[in-house]
Symmetry: C2
Subunit: 122 residues, 2 copies
DNA sequence: CGGAATCCGATAAGATACTG
DNA sequence: CAGTATCTTATCGGATTCCG
């Protein structure tokens, strides 16, 4: 069985301060959540604190449309739906890792530049 | 002297169909324009077909604020202003190359997935 | 449980016209 | 030449409520 997702897994990385974006606001976090295996809708809502069902659905549908993940429904009661990264999704996740590496290395410099800019705007 | 920019350098890559974004809509193209050296405002407007001065200014200011490029003004008549990538900007450009590589390799698959999705939505 | 429907505010981008 | 100013539009993300 898969480990449950850490509710705080994204508390350290708020909506991208970095000038790099992959898909919408929640796409990168969703990909990270699916890294280890398939997850359910409500399971994703936990670490994605505050995401509304509407927005989560939109994000998941867009990713499904682009072939980044697969949606599987099980006809049970209560209903169960699982989302899983495709090979394409995994390849994008690998690229995303490079983006995370860039951010770890250079984001402080970006933030310093912004600070300097604001102070210059006295 | 620097070669002039090819007016058609972006005709093959319209606003990112790929689920990867760096900065705003024009940021990646601006970075590519500055790859070989400093460029002037009107020089940038050529390959960035249709960008309005307002939007181009906003994009350049945002990039300057983030430390991605440097703006240099020369007090001449007529006025001259040059934009040039910083080291930070060049590092981001390197990362962008990885994104271009991903797109070249996987974008067809994304587009196929979208087609399949649309046909499924009959 | 896994959504759908509706409404709303913020932001991004563009059109147009004018200026030091 | 290198912008600024003003206005309008489109898209995104969110709040709220309800349903099979």
């Amino acid at each position: 069985m898969l480990e449950p997702l850490d509710p705080d897994m994204f508390t350290g990385c708020p909506p991208p301060a970095a000038p790099i974006r992959i898909g919408g606001k929640w796409t990168p976090m969703i990909m990270r959540c699916l890294e280890a295996g398939p997850r359910r809708f409500t399971e994703l809502q936990i670490p994605l604190r505050g995401v509304t069902p509407k927005v989560l659905t939109e994000s998941l549908r867009a990713m499904e449309r682009d072939g980044l993940l697969a949606r599987t429904t099980y006809d049970e009661i209560p209903p169960r739906v699982e989302y899983e990264l495709t090979d394409l999704g995994h390849s994008l996740l690998t690229f995303m890792d490079a983006g995370c590496a860039w951010s770890r290395e250079h984001l402080p410099e970006v933030l310093r530049a912004r600070d300097a800019w604001h102070s210059a705007a006295t």
